[in-house]
Subunit: 225 residues, 2 copies
DNA sequence: AAACTGATTTAGACTACCCTAAATCTGATT
DNA sequence: AATCAGATTTAGGGTAGTCTAAATCAGTTT
């Protein structure tokens, strides 16, 4: 528990956490893609993470990987660092929401628990990061969060944007230009069942938008009535 | 110039900069002691730093090492990061002057030039860190600084403390308790030529202090008249 | 000028990553 | 039940950094 993890291990744990969020095991190829390394490198790291004391993952060859309770705590620790840092960079240092990810992804591995606590305090213990993603508590529990993507809505439904599940700066800038940010209310006007495009009308915007699933799968909403 | 250095290389360059500040070459043993590694490890790293393109150091076997202009720029870059971070942690996040070093020593290697510029701006482009040490400019020139240690003073002389050249938290807390911090005025009352102790009287303090060279060598002052 | 001593380098080994190319496994299809 | 395709692991190799133990060097002393 007190043995110090490397930056690389921490990024692997974070990726496993993200890819096994739905309870299923994360697989080698998806991890390799997300981490930007070769599949063989992933296999090597999984072997190492499985034999630490205590083990951080359960790894069954050819059948994917899940986090142990210790591994999940380690992952949530890094996610908390990451999202607190994003929030701090955004609110205190004037970063834009497309700039925060890259800086936070490096800082998250080197800040102390003291630093974590001080920025949490300075920010008033925030519950969401600038993208609306929930910040794990100090006790490392993940708050409940919206699981309904905009893509699931159908004409006539109203919703409020809660979180945007994206790191890519270009996509984030695009969403910003569209006005599709947390807190925004919208109504679905039309749905195309062949290309799955959704036509929506954002509150206080004159013109409707037509959005593909590349966007609507990443925007999570809360349905209103 | 754009090739990215490892954290370890950066710490070596910073150490070489510190140990060759007086123009002389830094030697293997001193580097090993300061970096907390074996002398053989230093030799290995020096060989690597000497053959980078461009070379960062001039290394002559058995005769020590100096920084090339490129190496000095790299070192000053890290020193600027370190001291700006110390200043930021101290002023903005409420760290004490004995807590800042350790955190800054990890952060200095991962912050972006953008982060550097933003905290410099937020702090009003400070010229000194919390210990009074000069912060290299954005253009990577080192401002002039006091080279006279308190230990050089003799009875009758008056001085103002300018900087404290120390990282050790215990020593820093001790100096704080003594009231020996940048900006403080003092007068030398007595000098013992055998043990080199100095008796000083700090302005606005009732009782005089007797200090050994472990302290007086680390406190740099400006002589007044 | 040889010997000594402490500093330094070399030799050899280890861990943590990463890679490419070549096996091998799994689950689906015939 | 054999085959096939794609996913995965293994094999083998590389870099960066660390260590200990064994040379070796340089400057000083005899
Ligand atoms: Mn990261
Ligand atoms: Mn933490
Ligand atoms: Mn450092
Ligand atoms: Mn910089």
């Amino acid at each position: 528990m007190k043995n110090t993890l490397t930056h690389a291990s921490e990024d692997y744990l974070k990726a496993i956490y993200a890819l096994s969020a739905n309870g299923a095991a994360a697989n080698t190829t998806a991890l390799a893609a997300r981490l930007g390394v070769a599949p063989a490198s992933v296999t090597g790291m999984l072997k190492r993470l499985a034999v630490t004391q205590p083990p951080l993952i359960v790894y069954r060859k050819h059948h994917g990987v899940t986090l142990t309770p210790a591994g999940e705590r380690a992952a949530l620790e890094i996610v908390r660092h990451h999202r607190l840092l994003e929030t701090y960079l955004y609110r205190t240092l004037g970063y834009t929401w497309d700039e925060v990810h890259e800086e936070a992804c490096r800082l998250e591995h080197v800040i102390s628990e003291d630093f974590e606590e001080r920025i949490a305090e300075a920010l008033g213990h925030p519950v969401r990061d600038p993208h609306g993603e929930p910040i794990p508590t100090r006790e490392l529990t993940m708050p409940p969060f919206e699981a309904v993507p905009l893509s699931k809505l159908r004409p006539g439904q109203r919703a409020v944007v809660q979180r945007v599940h994206a790191d890519d700066p270009a996509l984030l800038r695009h969403l910003q230009r569209l006005g599709l940010t947390p807190g925004v209310g919208l109504t679905v006007d039309a749905y195309d069942e062949f290309d799955h495009n959704l036509q929506i009308k954002i509150d206080a915007q004159a013109d409707p938008l037509v959005l593909g699933t590349a966007i609507t799968d990443k925007v999570f909403i809360e349905v209103i009535a």
